[in-house]
């Protein structure tokens, strides 16, 4: 990758004896939407805090916008937008006050911020809430305001840590739409998520993380192609019988995962496989044929599901 905006080599972060991030390498190119996918505790947020040029790494090298964040923290942070996992807005201040005060921390002129606020309120669909105290906003609105706040300085890179965790489906879809617009405008996005649908929707390229290490890297489609089959057949025989029938089912497909509540069978043609099972005299209580997803990639790589 030529001239990446972010480049990490052997990035390691330890808290006492615990290694939260273990020698990870990755680059992020300009205009790219890059994701860190993994379960809670995989080390995603720790990486994000290092990329935000605040948290100090234990070892390895990191360059953000061509500079070492430990030496040029303020200069790098001037061109980042940060959306943390937990909204850290000032609840006592209003929507516009939050945006205005934050903008001042970048040394932006009052005039620039005032104009920017109008644009951001529209972007975050908060025009009618502008004079409300932040405490009075819903979870989805607070999230959109936190993102708007991260955009007040027109950052070169927007870092989003679990942008939609804790939101209801409707609020998530509104947020995805907003993030997709930013992507279209060419803003470089780096986001963490443990939702595979979010990663598929928003990321051009992603790394799959587990226990502080990178397990795989690629576009969502290429990861699925490389680590999973085209289709997945999910069958349930009831929790007691799943284990009984598993050995027999295993002989009928390329690969199989037995989860506590269901069995996932990896195949090129799910319907055909289901027929085969029925022919063999096994009758699933429920069955579902679907396309492979990043969830399957994660399961293949780690033997575990993303949300446990």
């Amino acid at each position: 990758m030529s001239n990446p905006l972010i480049s990490a080599r052997g990035l390691t972060k330890k808290f006492g004896d615990f290694t939260a991030v273990n020698a990870v390498d990755f680059d992020v190119a300009k205009g790219e939407s890059f994701g860190l996918l993994g379960p809670n505790g995989a080390g995603k947020s720790t990486i994000m805090r290092v990329l935000a040029a605040t948290s100090q790494r234990t070892s390895g090298t990191v360059e953000i916008l061509g500079k070492d964040p430990e030496l040029f923290g303020p200069l790098i942070r001037a061109h980042l937008g940060v959306v943390p996992q937990q909204d850290n807005l000032d609840g006592e201040l209003t929507v516009t006050e939050n945006l205005y005060i934050y903008g001042r921390y970048f040394g932006l002129s009052k005039k620039f911020i005032r104009n920017k606020i109008e644009e951001l309120l529209e972007f975050a669909q908060l025009e009618e809430k502008r004079e409300l105290k932040v405490e009075a906003l819903s979870g989805g609105m607070k999230r959109r305001l936190t993102i708007a706040r991260g955009l007040v300085s027109e950052p070169d890179i927007l870092l989003l840590d679990e942008p939609t965790t804790g939101l209801d489906p409707q609020a998530r879809h509104i947020l995805w739409d907003r993030l997709f617009r930013l992507k279209e405008q060419g803003v470089t996005l780096v986001l963490t998520t443990h939702f595979m649908d979010e990663a598929e929707q928003l990321c051009d390229r992603l790394v799959v993380m587990d226990k502080g290490s990178i397990m795989a890297e690629g576009s969502p489609a290429s990861l699925i192609k490389q680590y999973s089959s085209k289709e997945v057949l999910e069958v349930r025989f009831g929790s007691d019988r799943n284990k009984e029938v598993a050995p027999q089912l295993a002989t009928m497909c390329e690969r199989m995962e037995t989860l506590p509540d269901r069995i996932l069978m990896y195949t090129e043609d799910g319907e055909k496989l289901l027929e085969k099972i029925t022919h063999a005299g096994m009758h699933a209580t429920t069955s579902l044929v679907r396309r492979s997803s990043l969830e399957d990639v994660f399961l293949r790589l780690t033997g575990r599901t993303l949300i446990e």
């Binding site: 948290s55 303020p74 201040l93 932006l108």
Partner: protein, 270 residues
């Protein structure tokens, strides 16, 4: 890159941006702050002026207080204590809120603003609150005819210096602690209360047994009180002791602020 971003200006004025944001938050509580900062001294002046003071003077005249009316004797102490509690409110709570409850400091630190600037900004805003409380108190002292307007105006900066010394330590302590509930218990019962009682507040420190006097020596309240008494009524303290008091308070302030800024940087970069 956004050409409007101005990092050198933030490097210079960042702490003031933080202070002004803190003052903005405080201003949302202005009615309560004003009620506390005016009501509190009012209660004390009434209770001591027409209650305890009268009783003390009936008992021993003003012989125990170098010839000063009892209410005037304790006024500099109350003033310094007001600065101390005011600055404590505005350092301890915002700091714990900033690191833990709402994590506002982490938001501020996601910009060119540094941990050091956040610490100083919070501290400056707390000093403003202390200054407001002390001025309000001083005006009441004038209104109640406890002190005469003039050189006694020095009571204001002295009280703020005393509060500032204590506040710098509180800023550090609040940034250091992880479990705030225990901290509040210890702070209130084992630090604030004894300091208030044993710092020569209600009686000269020398009238206490010598083994209790060290509480006063290390207490910013005692040093500020002695300085205040000297400035308000020529209490008879030697120049050497005036210097000692000033040096003690300034040193505490500088050390506290140094520790606090370092702790802010550390905790934010974890």
């Amino acid at each position: 890159m956004n050409a409007g971003i101005d990092v050198p200006t933030v490097e210079r004025f960042g702490a003031l941006y933080i202070a002004s944001a803190r003052l903005k938050s405080m201003s949302k509580w202005r009615t309560i702050i004003a009620a506390v900062d005016i009501g509190n001294p009012l209660f004390y002046l009434i209770a001591v002026g027409i209650g305890i003071g009268v009783m003390v003077e009936q008992g021993s005249g003003t012989s125990g207080t170098n010839g000063i009316k009892y209410i005037a004797f304790i006024a500099p102490a109350l003033l310094a204590n007001t600065a101390i509690t005011g600055i404590m409110d505005e350092t301890v709570f915002p700091t714990i809120e900033g690191f833990k409850w709402r994590k506002l400091f982490f938001a501020q630190n996601s910009t060119p603003i540094t941990g050091r600037q956040i610490a100083i900004g919070v501290y400056l805003a707390a000093l403003c609150r202390a200054l407001f409380a002390v001025i309000a108190y001083y005006i009441l002292l004038l209104a109640f005819d406890v002190v005469n307007f003039g050189i006694s105006i020095l009571l204001v900066p002295i009280a703020v210096l005393g509060g500032g010394a204590f506040g710098a330590l509180m800023l550090f302590a609040a940034a250091k602690i992880e479990k705030e509930d225990q901290f509040f218990n210890i702070l209130g019962r084992l630090v604030i209360m004894p300091m208030f009682l044993f710092s020569g507040t209600f009686f000269p420190l020398t009238s206490m047994p010598v083994y209790l006097q060290p509480i006063g020596w290390i207490s910013p309240l005692w040093h500020a009180t002695e300085l205040g008494r000297e400035s308000a009524f020529d209490y008879g303290i030697s120049t050497t002791m005036v210097v000692v008091h000033l040096v003690f308070l300034s040193t505490l302030l500088v050390i506290g602020l140094g520790l606090a800024t370092r702790q802010f940087e550390r905790r934010l970069s974890k």
